[in-house]
Amino acid sequence: MPIPSTVPPTRFSADAIDPNRPVIEGHHGAEYYALMTEALHKILLEKQLLTLADTDRVIAALEAPNVTWGARIVAEAWRDEAYAQRLVEDGSKAAAELGFKIKEAKLVVVRNTPSLHNVIVCTLCSCYPRSLLGQPPWWYISKNYRARTVREPRKVLAEFGLELPAEVEVRVHDSNADMRYLVLPMPPPGAAERPVEELIPLVTRHMLVGTAVVAG
């Protein structure tokens, strides 16, 4: 497929989209943009707009967050109902209690119950609580996940191996520039009495997005 050349940005695009045309999952250009990034970095260093230490520091901050940070919050909520309630009331504040600073936006925690299952998407971009969980998985940033999850969530969940009974309500949360979501999954039996270290490995990234539930 021929790839069009770049057009300069305009104030906004007047492109209309055909609501019946499927999304196109393009993944071209990795080698080209790797080279562009290398070239841009060299130029920024030469112009002294950046130093090597500047990008090294941000790379370290990008690499540090991971699923266990989110799992730590969930484990705490499973053990302490008062904490779970504070978490649902103000996610950013409750995360900060455990030392996790959500830098990019307000953290909203949505709680699963026996009759409600939450799932997270970002249809417009790929907003994700990166400062807590790290980079999103490939499928989360894919156009097929972004497009379909709000239209046919049960079908999407089934593709991830999660079949929910019809009586369980499925609620889809569409992230935006000012909000990041985290799912609080339902606990395994006896979670309140188990140590945090034992609970953390039970929480997967899929559970925190809502594409899986705790086994058993």
Partner: protein, 119 residues
Amino acid sequence: MGEPPFRGYHDIGGLPGGPIQQDEHPFADWQKLSEAIRGALEQKDRCVSLDEIRRAFESFGEPLYETLGFYERRAEALTLLLDEKGLVDRAEVLARMDALAAGRGQRVDHAAKTVMEAK
């Protein structure tokens, strides 16, 4: 009012789509560096913001939005934005890409967004 609501090409929620590819891809070094350049410029001089990056890839045209991957779109937007702000000339970036490629026995096709072995 009276006009239908504006919908940009990035506003894909609810559109039909195919199966979701569930394979994992590592966070590549160049992707980290690209994100770090933006983050560092934002933290240091506040000269680019994520909102501006979004505005750039939400207006650089539907054909590019469809063909490029997620980090590739953001990298394209970053260069466009720095050029627009007069901080880095886009032509200088493209020329540097050519020079880097030439040093490795490669050449760049800027229209096709590919790098290949030089004959």
